[in-house]
Subunit: 408 residues, 2 copies
């Protein structure tokens, strides 16, 4: 993984301060230790699931689904996976019915994932599915130890797996929350963790990424009142759900009242997919308000020799320049061309990440890179990166409305 | 369709000016007249496609695909459609291979859509597919009259349909570009146009939407330097691709240098889906920088009686308040709760759109509403709503790179 910045931020004092803070919070924030975890128990659990099970359905929302989805959708198109993975994360009845129509319930294992054990969406869907399948062995629950959900699972004799301590949903993809559904589908979770470990080691052991991440984070933080929209422009459809994961990670971590001033700050994440969004969002980046940074992500080796055939179309000979070109080369040329066109503007902060290929190791590296970047920026813009107090009011209002219906 | 604004903008002078400008540009901008078009020739063309054809594949990108996709994905889950619709819009070889694996080429009709006739993505994919299927009757081309693409199509004896005059890609969903693929799948395009006509008449004949649209557009324009991120928060998965269409329409139309000052301005569109994004982007709206407006969209009647069963789970009795509630009611309560929670903040401009149900007429109304809103805001922030000069530089750079490869 190569990351090139097209901007500089020389403030060693700020960078060192951020690094020290991360080294300190590493002692108690749980996600930092995930790359080294022992996965034997997860693999043993996965082996215990019958080979008759053809599909895995995650019932969970937000941090309980976005990470696994990002990895699964990245790997799925290039690997022959042993099971299909579905995500039921909406209370939209049309969506629930559509997902159920794709599943053979008798050949599906359901993973019910909820840290707190009282997520409205998760349990409305769970109750509905439980009314169709009340065999406890069809379910595994992933939750906090000693939560009411653990007690429930024990009561009905269903399997329970635990979340490690001090890991919020959006930083949980490399814990049981992400690893269990991915391993059940045949994704190499050890390679995923190894990738994350590479990024971690490079950052904490004075490697290449320490310099890059500190420079990028301090640039973003220093300029966040101007460049407060941070776009990822990824040139592969396989990264579509990675972008959704990034949106949650970045938005929910960095959109906060500041710890000391209580001032509302925030960096707005946008996920774009090239070349599609060249025909959509690019115009706004190129000519709109100068409030956006752009990180291009491209894949060096698609492991795909598919070429544009050597066909000349009468009256369209202009397009013969495409002939014999591989699609992989074309899409990367498109990425380079758009990046060069934005460079002509001078006042749009750009950087590029080149991923070596599409595999578990690669996405593990990228995930951990973004987790570290988020932690660093959160520290520098003075917010609590790991909480989300802003979503509580809506939950309380809903609770009142629900109580009002039953006359409580 | 009901739209309630939670903000006011009383500036009759500005509103009248915007209205007069729209009435004037209606004389030459093509999309305004689309709701009244006669669709007999489109329906006759669709009848000419063999009933053996099971799938329609659109080869097109941006404005050539996003509109049809928005309507198709809205209607598909609730209607038994006669054909499946696919979109090939990426040069990512992994994506091309994945789409082809889903198609039986011998039972697929391909719609190649390109206004100019030289879109790189469209023709690289077309050449590839043509190398697998070189029967001209498997293709229909949609392009401008007298374009090189029309000449090519005539040369190989394939069908050609035309784009009406003066309609840019992102305003073309109600023209042949969107109507042909949708009608081929059995979507009621007359109902779609009738919905659009309702919005149009309400706006141009002094109806309810005239007041609302003018007030909303003038508020957005007047406050665009503060509230320059405009979120749609739609409470139904069926609106996911509508949001993508909106992102192109809004971003590419309104991210521009101003006509008179050449100053970079722009309104940044964000599409969110509830309740999923309550667990992602909501925190940023609630506690982040005050630069976002939010439009909630909900569906009044999901025509779906699916209920949460009356099941009490031991240790999770707290969740019994959900029992017997319909999912449709729950998702709308979630929408209301989040909206109320944001109202507590006072400085976040909100409005809500309630759609009556999921059908063609409804999405037609909503599409035309957003087209009119875009035209109004574009007029008021002084940009040319209908061009996209910012995407040309990247195309030229790519062309140079392609020429360099073949040594031109």
């Amino acid at each position: 993984m190569i990351n090139k910045l097209n901007f500089n931020s020389y403030n060693k004092f700020i960078e060192n301060k951020a690094y020290d803070a991360i080294v300190e919070e590493k002692k108690y924030i749980g996600y930092y230790t995930l790359p080294e975890q022992n996965i034997d128990s997860i693999l043993a659990y996965c082996d215990s699931i019958s080979t008759n099970i053809e599909s895995i359905a995650v019932i969970g929302i937000g941090g309980s689904s976005l990470g696994a989805k990002a990895v699964y959708e990245f790997i799925k198109p290039v690997k022959n996976l042993k099971r299909k993975l579905y995500f039921s994360e909406s209370t939209d009845p049309i969506n629930i019915r559509e997902i159920l129509s794709k599943l053979d319930i008798s050949k599906t294992h359901f993973l019910v994932i909820s840290k707190s054990g009282n997520t409205i969406e998760t349990f409305s869907i769970y109750k509905y599915i439980y009314s169709l399948q009340n065999n406890a062995s069809a379910y595994t629950f992933i939750t906090d130890p000693d939560s009411p959900l653990e007690k429930y699972a024990n009561k009905i004799n269903a399997s329970v797996l635990y979340l490690p301590d001090n890991i919020g949903g959006r930083f949980s993809v490399l814990s049981t929350v992400g690893l269990v559904p991915l391993a059940l589908c045949g994704i190499d979770i050890q390679a995923l963790l190894n990738g994350a470990k590479r990024t971690k080691d490079s950052f904490f052991n004075d490697g290449y990424l320490k310099k890059i991440l500190l420079e990028k984070a301090s640039y973003y933080a220093k300029n966040h009142s101007q460049y407060h929209i941070n776009c990822i422009f990824a040139y592969s459809d396989t990264l579509k759900y990675f972008c959704e994961w990034y949106v949650q990670l970045w938005g929910e971590s960095l959109g906060k009242r500041q710890r000391n001033s209580a001032f509302n700050v925030g960096l707005t994440p946008i996920g774009l997919i090239g070349p599609k969004d060249q025909h959509s969002f690019l115009q706004l980046i190129m000519e709109g308000t100068r409030d956006k940074s752009v990180t291009f992500i491209k894949i060096e080796d698609f492991n795909n020799e598919m070429k544009i055939p050597n066909i000349s179309l009468p009256h369209l000979e202009e397009l013969d320049t495409l002939n014999n070109l591989s699609f992989a080369k074309l899409i990367n040329m498109q990425c380079d061309s758009v990046m060069e066109s934005l460079k002509t503007q001078k006042d749009i902060p750009l950087d590029s990440i080149t991923l070596p290929c599409v595999d578990e190791n690669t996405i593990g590296k990228l995930i951990y890179y973004y987790e570290l970047l988020t932690s660093l920026v959160g520290e520098l813009i003075d917010v609590d990166t790991y909480n989300q107090p802003g979503v509580e009011t809506g939950k309380l209002i809903l609770k009142k409305k629900l109580n009002a219906i039953i006359g409580k």
